[in-house]
C-alpha cells in the first residue's frame, strides 16, 4: 500500500543543510496498522507529510497504492489524496466557515459524488454527532471537532489513513473515545492506518511500531498484541 525506499529529506535554513530524514525505507501492507513514534524533532511529521504526498522528498521514492508520487505534480497528487487518502490532524483542521455536515461533505463533493448529504449525515451519526450537523467548528468542543474530522477522513472511503497525533490536543478520556473510533472505523473499512503519536498506549494498539530517532529508523517491530481499543480500558 505504501512503499518508502531510501527516502531522505534535507532542509536548508540559514545556509546550513539539515538532514531530517536519512535514507529511510519501509513498506506498509494493505489494511496494516502502523504507528510511528520517536522523540520530538525526530522527523515523524516530515515522514508523514512525505508519505501522504504533501511534500516532496529530497531523494528516494515513495509509492502510494502502487503509484510513484515523484512522478506526479501537485494537482495529480491532490486527486490521489482525494481518492485514496484520509487525514486526521492534531489540531483538527476543520474549515471554520463550514458546518460539521459541510466539512464532511467537501471531500465527497470534490469527487463529484451523488447523495453526498445523506452519506455525510450517516458518518456523523456514526461518530455520535447526529444532532450537531449544523454547528460550526467554533461551536463544538475539541473532542467533537476531532470526531467531525474523523467522519471527514472516512467520508471518501480512503485506502489509507494518515493521522498526526490525533489525540494530542485532547484529554485522556476523550482521547480514548476518539482513538476507539479511529480503530473501529478503520476495521470496518479495512483501511490502512499510519499513525504518528507520542502516546505509547495508542501506539501499542497498532499492529506495528516504527521508532524514529534523528532521522533514522531505530526499530521496526510488530506490536506484542493488537488490542481492540474498545477493550483497552479493561486491560
Amino acid at each position: 500500500m505504501l512503499k518508502i525506499e531510501k527516502v531522505s529529506k534535507t532542509y536548508t535554513a540559514g545556509g546550513r543543510t539539515l538532514t531530517v530524514l536519512d535514507n529511510i525505507s519501509f513498506q506498509v501492507g494493505e489494511s496494516e496498522t502502523v504507528s510511528i513514534v520517536g522523540p520530538s524533532g525526530s522527523g515523524k511529521t516530515t515522514l508523514l507529510g512525505l508519505s501522504a504526498g504533501l511534500d516532496r522528498s529530497s531523494t528516494g521514492t515513495i509509492e502510494l497504492n502502487g503509484v510513484s508520487l515523484g512522478a506526479l505534480d501537485e494537482d495529480e497528487r491532490a486527486v490521489l489524496r482525494n481518492q485514496y487518502v484520509g487525514f486526521i490532524f492534531q489540531n483538527f483542521q476543520l474549515l471554520p466557515t463550514l458546518t460539521a455536515l459541510e466539512n464532511v461533505m467537501v471531500p465527497l463533493e470534490l469527487r463529484g459524488e451523488k447523495h453526498v448529504r445523506a452519506r455525510a449525515r450517516e458518518l456523523l451519526e456514526q461518530v455520535g454527532l447526529g444532532d450537531r450537523l449544523h454547528h460550526y467548528p467554533a461551536q463544538l468542543s475539541g473532542g467533537e471537532q476531532q470526531r467531525v474530522s474523523l467522519a471527514r477522513a472516512f467520508a471518501n472511503r480512503p485506502r489509507i489513513l494518515f493521522a498526526d497525533e490525533p489525540t494530542g490536543n485532547l484529554d485522556t478520556e476523550t482521547s480514548e473515545l476518539v482513538a476507539g473510533m479511529i480503530f473501529d472505523l478503520n476495521r470496518q473499512a479495512g483501511t490502512t492506518l499510519v499513525l504518528v503519536t507520542h502516546n505509547l498506549d495508542l501506539a501499542a494498539s497498532t499492529g506495528r511500531i516504527i521508532k524514529l530517532g534523528k532521522g533514522h529508523i531505530v526499530s521496526d517491530e510488530t506490536s506484542l498484541r493488537e488490542v481492540p481499543s474498545d477493550k483497552k480500558k479493561t486491560l
Binding site: L54, R81, N82, L98, R152, D164
Partner: protein
Amino acid sequence: MKKISWYFLMAWRDSRRDQSRLLLFIAAIVLGIAALVSTLSFGRNLREDIDDQAKELLGADMVIYSNRPLSKADEMLLDSLPNRHSEECSFASMVYFVRNGQSRLVQVRAIEGDYPYYGELETTPAAADTDFREKQEALVDKTLLLQYGAKPGDSVRIGELSFAIAGSLDKAPGRNEISMTVAPPVYIPLRYMEPAGLLKKGSRVNYQYYYQYLQGDPEQFAQQIAPRLEAVGLHYETIAMRKNRMTNAFQHLTEFMTLISFIALLLGAVGVASSVNIYIREKVSDIAILRCLGLKARQAFLVYLVQVLVVGVLGSVLGAGLGLVLQQLLPGVFKDILPLETRFRVVWPAFFEGIAVGVIVSLLFALLPLLSVRKISPLLTLRVSLEPVRGRDPLRWLVYIVILGFIAFFSYLRMENGRKALVFTVSLLGAFLVLTGIARLFLFLIRRAFPERWPYLWRQGFANLFRPNNQTVILIVTIGLGTTFIGTLFFVQQFLIDQVTTSARGGEGNMVLFDIQPDQVKGIEGLAGQYHLPVKQEIPIVTMRIVEVRGQRGDSVLGQVANGGSHRRGQGFGERMDSNAVGRWVFEQELRVTYRDSLTGSEKLVAGQLGAPVSGPNDPISISLAEDFAKRWNIRVGDPVVFDVQGVRIATVVGSLRKVQWQRLELSFFVVFPRGVLERAPQFDVMITRVNTPEESARFQRAIVEKFPNVSVIDLQLVLSVLDEVLGKIGDVIRFMAGFCILTGLIVLITSVLISKYQRIRESVLLRTLGATRRQVRIILLLEYFFLGTLAAATGILLSLVFAEALARWSFEAPLMIHWVAVAEIFVAIMGLTMLIGLYNSRGVLNRPPLEVLRRED
C-alpha cells in the same frame, strides 16, 4: 472538472463569515465607478444637449465674424438667399454708472435687428429684450448691476450718451458664466454708436452678422460661398460648425473627467488588491486544508476568484447606481463653464460600461494576490510556521501586463488616439511608481532617522505603521495622489495671481488707459498730472495686416485654403505646413503694432539688430518680431514682409527677433517697427500709469470717463478680481474631480483600519494587560494616524510643488513663490482628515473588554 455551481457554493460557504468585510474591500472602487458612470453619462447627455440646442447656441443659421464692416459685395453674396439678419459691433468700453459715479470696463455690444433668431436674451424684466431695441436703453449684465448697485431705470453713460437701463441681462445664447465674468456685456442699439462717439474707437471693434435664412439649406449655402468668404478673410460659423466646435471642446473636458474618474477607480483597485491580499493571508490555513482534501490548485484559486467576482459585481452595480445620483450634481459643478442647459437622462450604455470596467479592474487587481492561492501548500496543515507562499510567480507579470494593457485600451476608447492613450498609460505607471517610491523612501528614511530615545508611545505609534499586513504604502499613495491634484491646482492658481500682483509691485504701472486718440494724449497727460499720477509708459499702436511674406502673398494663401474646402474657423493652429510655407494665420489676423527704438524690460534680443530710425523714403525698414511668433508661423530673419497699413502698403525686412515675457502686465507686441515710418499713420495710444489706492483709481477713472468718454481704463484690481473669479470657477471642476481621488484614499483608509481592527484590538488588549492605560493606547493610535497623515500629505504636497514649479518654469518661465501658510493649511487639512477618520473608525478598539477578545482567539 467540477460543476461551476460548486465553486459558487464553496465560495459562499467560505466567505460566510466575511461577506460584509469583502463588501467593504470593494467599497474602495465604488466611488471610482460612480465617478466614471456619472462623467460618461454626463458627457453623453451633454453631447445630446448640444445637438438639441445648437440652434439656440448660435442664435442664427449663420454668423459672419469680421474686424471690419461688410463690403457691398459681401452683403450681396450673403443676401443671395431670402433672409433676415442682424448686425452687432462689439468692443471694449467704459460704462459709467451715473447713480454712484463708478465706472468699469465692459464689453459693449451694439446691436441692430432681431438677433437672436433661436433662443433668446434672457432678461429681467422679460420685456426688456425687445424694449431696449426701440429706445435709448441698455441691457446690462446682471452681475454688473449687482456689483454697482444699479437697477432698471437708472442711467449708464457709454461714450457721450446716457442710456436708461432697460433690464438686467441674465443669459445670452452661447455665452457661459466665465465669458460673462471676463467681459461683462452691455447691449445697446447699434444706431447710437455714432451719436455716442463710439465710432472713434481706436481698439479693435468686432463685427458680427447674424443671418437667418428663410429658404434653402443654410449649411449647403455656407459651403457654396465659403471660398469667397475665405478669400476676403471673413470667418463664418453655421449651426453644424458650432455644434462640432462645442462637441469637440466639451469632449475634451468630459474626456479629462472620465480619465480622472478612471484614476480614482484604479486607486481604489489598488486598495482592493491590498485588502484581498490580507484576506487571502488569513485564509491560508483553510486553503491548505482544502488542498489536503484533494482540491487542485486551480480549483482553490477559482473558489476565491468567485468570491472576488461576486463582490466585484455587487460593488460595481452599487457604484454605477451611485453614479446616477452623482450625475445629477455635475450640471451644478459645470454651470459656470457650460453655455447651455443640461438635462438629466440615464445613459444605460455608460451605466453598463461602468459596471464592466469596475468588474474587470477589480478582478485584474485582485488577481495579483489571488494568484498566490495556487501556491499555498497542503503541507501547511502539518506546519503552521511555514512561509505561506513560496517562490516567484511569472503569472504575476502577465497580470501586470494585462492591467497596463487594459488601462491603455480604456484610455484609447475614451480618447480615440493611440499616442495619447500610450502617454496616459505610461505617465500613470510613472506617477504610480514615483509615488510608491517616495512613500517607501519616506518610510525608510524615517525608520532610519527615528530617534531611539523618543518616548515609548511615539515609538509604538510609529512602529504600528509597519505591523504585518500593513497598508501603509498604498494609503500614502492614494491619499497622496489626491493631495497632489488639489495641491497642484492650488499652487498654480496662486502662482497666476502672484504673477499679476508682482508685475505691478515696486512702482511699476498698474493701470492701463487705452483707445487714446493722438489729439487726446496731451489732455490725458495733463489730467494725470492734476491727480499726481506718473505716466509710466506711452505706447502708440497702429493696426495693420501682413499681406506678403517671403514672396508668399496673403490673398493666394487664403484663397488656396478656401478652395481646399475643409477650412474651419480656428483650425489654423494644428495645420501641417510644408517647410517653406508661412502660417496662414499670419495673413488672417489684424495685428497691433508699435514703433520704438529700444527694448522694454521684459524683452531680450535673440537675433539680429533692432532697426535704426528711418529718415528717408529709400531707407530699408527693419522690423523686429517676437521670437515665438516668428517660429510658429515660419518667418525668419532677413525675410521681406509687406504690410497693409489701412490701405497703404509698406515693404519691410525682418531685422531682429525678440524674446518676450508675455505674462508681464505690460503691452507686448508681435511686431515692432523702427521710428520714422508710422508716425503719420492712423493710430491710437496706450498709456500706463500707477495708482496707489482703489479710491485714487476710482477718482481718476471718473475724471477720464467724464472728459474722454471714448478712452477705456483697466486697473490691476479689476484684472485680479476677474482672474480670481475665473480661476475659482474652473477650480471647482478640478476640485470636484480631485475630491474623488481623496475620498477613494480615505475609503481605503477606512477599510484598512477596519480590516486591521481585530489585530489592533488584540494589540490594545495586550498593552492594557501589560498595564497601559486606555489613554496611552489612544495616544498610540492617534500617533499612528498622525504619522500616516503626515507622510501622505507630505508626499502629495511635495509632488504638487514639483508639478507647480515645472508648470511655472516651462509654461510661464517664472519661478514659483511658495506660500508656506497655504502649504501648511493643506498639510494640516489632509493630516487632520486622516487622523479623524482613522480614530473614528478605531473607536471600538478601546472599548473591548480584554476577556472577550481572548475568548475569540480560537
